[in-house]
Amino acid sequence: MTINRPGDLDFNDLSVMDRETVKSALRRGATRREVMGYLMASGATIAAAGSIVTGASEALAATPKKGGQIRFAWDVHGPSDTLDPILFTSSLDYGRGRLNYNNLCRLKEDLTVGPELATEWEANADVTEWTFKLRQGVEWHDGSKFTADDVIYTMSRHLGKESLSKAKVLVASISEWKKVDDYTVKAIMAEPNAELPIILGTFHFKVVKNGTTDFQNPIGTGPYKLAEFKPGVRSVHNRNDNYWNTDHEGPYVEQFEAFGITDNVARVNALLSGDIQMMAQLDPKAASQVEASETAEVFAVPSGAYPTISCMLDKEPGNNPDFVKGLKHLQRRDRILKVVQQGLGSVGNDQPVGPAYGADWCQAANDPVTHPYDPDKAKHHLKKSGVAGAELHAAEIAPGMTDICLMLQRECSKVGFNLQIKKVPNDGYWGAVWMKKPMNVSSWNMRPSANIMMTLAYKGDAPWNESRWKNDRFDKLLGMARAELDPAKRAEMNCEAQKLCSEGAGSLTPTHRAYVDAKSKKVKGFPRVPLAAFGGMEWPEFIWLDA
């Protein structure tokens, strides 16, 4: 953080990211003195540092209240809205899922797992069997008891050739789920996987009631009961006063109404005029407008999500290593972070793991970046490659994607290389362009661990290995890490994998973005899990309205 404003300033004068830095330091247990010392080292006066810390502590310390109604608007919605967890697509689906259902395990802010419908779990020595003890006394919204049969039914929907699950790749190593007794289940693995509890904490593994086939009006065990669901119009969720979690007073809010406002400007207007209290996907360019408002504020969580340009290594011109290396050296990462992402995010190193992955991010492998901005080197490699020009197919599939491509084009023309950008529509992009055209763009949400992320998008035989990179050592490292229960050894393997990926894969990943949303200042208590919009959509049972 740099504080370059003269005079005294307080907490609210800081940028969103700086405010979050201070708050998270306090949340982690830093003392007032430590945080003030840090602020003064960044150039703040004693008085300013003091008032900043006071403001941050106040923001953290308020007590939750019950009641009220919250309306939230998402950017994507339509007839494809679904309450079937295996088909969840948008973060609106994720949010509705979190209102209605529960997972076996819960992903926490530091991406470790805690108990939810499972109270404890344990693997056997070679990590080929996981046993989950289930919570007793949990009731479905219709009053029936939650048991092992529900879990077996839910988990089996992800297995097999006929499964429609969008997340089946993640659990392909499970050969079957077995019921031990009414409150114990077992996953039998064909390949060891030490990260199974983490995977089961993600969105598509919400537990549904045994035998559910109609997802127009499903019941769950979650903090809110579904009162109305009209795809593409809205859903209404009423508080479940019989919620099983007694660790806190929540769920607090009486009722949630969820709907979509697809137009970016209209969504911000609705928030500013008080018609809604939460809105997903704030255009970073509109952040200052929201910050200037007295009633609303930006809610940004740095994440490992990233927009990327991929050169397919099995097609011309990506099959020429010098070509890819040249382009990698032409990325002005700092500038893209500052201009395109408005500083909300972090610098990327052409591999999928960013600092938001916490302990999984390997500093030694990524800082400084493998391919820093260097036009001379780029020119050398591009010349050596003998490639005269290339065509990049770009669609605005993530905020700022097109701008990133245009910046690369500009740098290319500076060193005399002709990079054509062909703009294509978002509509149908994933089926028609992605992994088909030799150079295309892609966007990934953050996954709960580095291993899962790298396995999905970079493992040699992965269906979504978008740059078609194949490295035997890398694949072997991923498998070894999954079977390794010792964190130190896993970290070492992680480091090597990230280094290999950054050097060899065909991806140009200049930045990791933050999830940038906005909300009324009156809505408080958000967890900050970096996996999806609005703190990983973990908010339903925690947030409250300060009337």
Binding site: K161, G232, D275, D427
Partner: protein, 316 residues
């Protein structure tokens, strides 16, 4: 004579519906990807794609899909949305009321308003009032509807806080409350459709004013007001009613931008969503509704012009 016309028109309407359904079906095949591909998006693998295609009935050739769809339709079944699994009836039922409500209110305000203003302009051609009306309407026709909408939002909702910025109805509001919530889209649409109707009313009447029998009336000393209301207006009704009918049809099917900006769940946006998700049953259903709307409104307009003009009743 009149009943013959109606029967013939209904027959043509049915053929038209069939042609439109074939066209829609064929055109959606040209778009890249199918419902399964779009639904799985970035998460598609060949295996899940095949499984979902089978589930949605997309694994058979497109002409067979059309036959299946037609068979369902003839037995009164609109089918299941390929995008999300809800029934088409439930998706459309939610929105048809919304669209009819908004179209109705806009029509109730804009038709009397534009006929009156058009008449006023025609009564005093070239004078100040006429100049204001013609220049004003020309300006409004030139301004795109989303611009009018955003301007009204910024002025009336964000700065002044008089009305809501999004037209979000929870379904429990009474009539006046609904009108209040819909104030901005109604105002925007009234402005957009009235401008055209005003100009057509004025032009239609001034056109008739040049004909010999009006000159005769003027020579006989009939007051201008009486000439316009009794002689010119009745003869100009044909074109005016047709413009009104086209504008009403536009309100039902073409207000995607307004529905998007105000997050108002109506039919037009539903069809666009359907196209984006390659949800053929949904697109077909919307297409049929829009086609019917046009057929019926144009029929009504034609009947009105025949009734107002005896010459059309006896075609040579």
């Amino acid at each position: 004579m009149m009943s013959q016309l109606v029967i013939r028109r209904i027959g043509i309407g049915i053929i038209l519906l069939w042609v439109v359904s074939v066209l829609i079906f064929a055109l959606t095949q040209v778009l890249p990807g199918d419902a399964a591909q779009i639904r799985l998006g970035q998460q598609a693998t060949p295996e899940t794609l095949a499984a979902l295609r089978k589930e949605l009935g997309l694994d058979i050739p497109w002409y067979m899909q059309y036959v299946v769809w037609m068979g369902n339709l003839l037995s009164g079944n609109l089918g299941i949305s390929a995008a999300g699994g809800a029934t088409i009836e439930s998706l459309i039922g939610n929105r048809i009321g919304n669209t009819v409500f908004m179209t109705g209110i806009v029509a109730l305000i804009s038709i009397p308003l534009s006929v009156t203003l058009g008449l006023l302009a025609a009564m005093f051609p070239g004078q100040l009032l006429d100049r204001i009306i013609t220049t004003g309407t020309l300006g409004l026709i030139a301004v795109p509807d989303f611009f009018v909408a955003i301007f009204l939002i910024l002025l009336l909702a964000v700065s002044l806080g008089l009305v809501p910025a999004v037209s979000y109805l929870s379904g429990t509001e009474g009539f006046w409350k609904s009108v209040y919530v819909l104030a901005l889209p109604i105002a925007t649409l009234v402005i957009v459709v009235s401008a055209q109707m005003i100009r057509m009313t004025r032009a239609g009447i001034l056109n008739v004013m040049g004909s010999p029998y009006i000159e005769m009336a003027i020579l006989k000393g009939v007051p201008r007001k009486r000439i316009i209301l009794r002689h010119a207006l009745l003869n100009a009704i044909g074109p005016i009613v047709n413009v009104i009918a086209l504008n009403l049809a536009y309100l039902v099917s073409g207000v995607v931008v307004i529905e998007t900006i105000f997050a108002y769940p109506g039919l037009a946006k539903l069809m666009v969503d359907g196209v984006q998700t390659r949800d053929i049953p949904l697109v077909q259903a919307c297409g049929m509704i829009f086609c019917c709307t046009y057929v019926i409104l144009i029929l009504v307009a034609d009947i009105a012009s025949i009734l107002s003009n005896p010459r059309l009743r006896h075609p040579k």
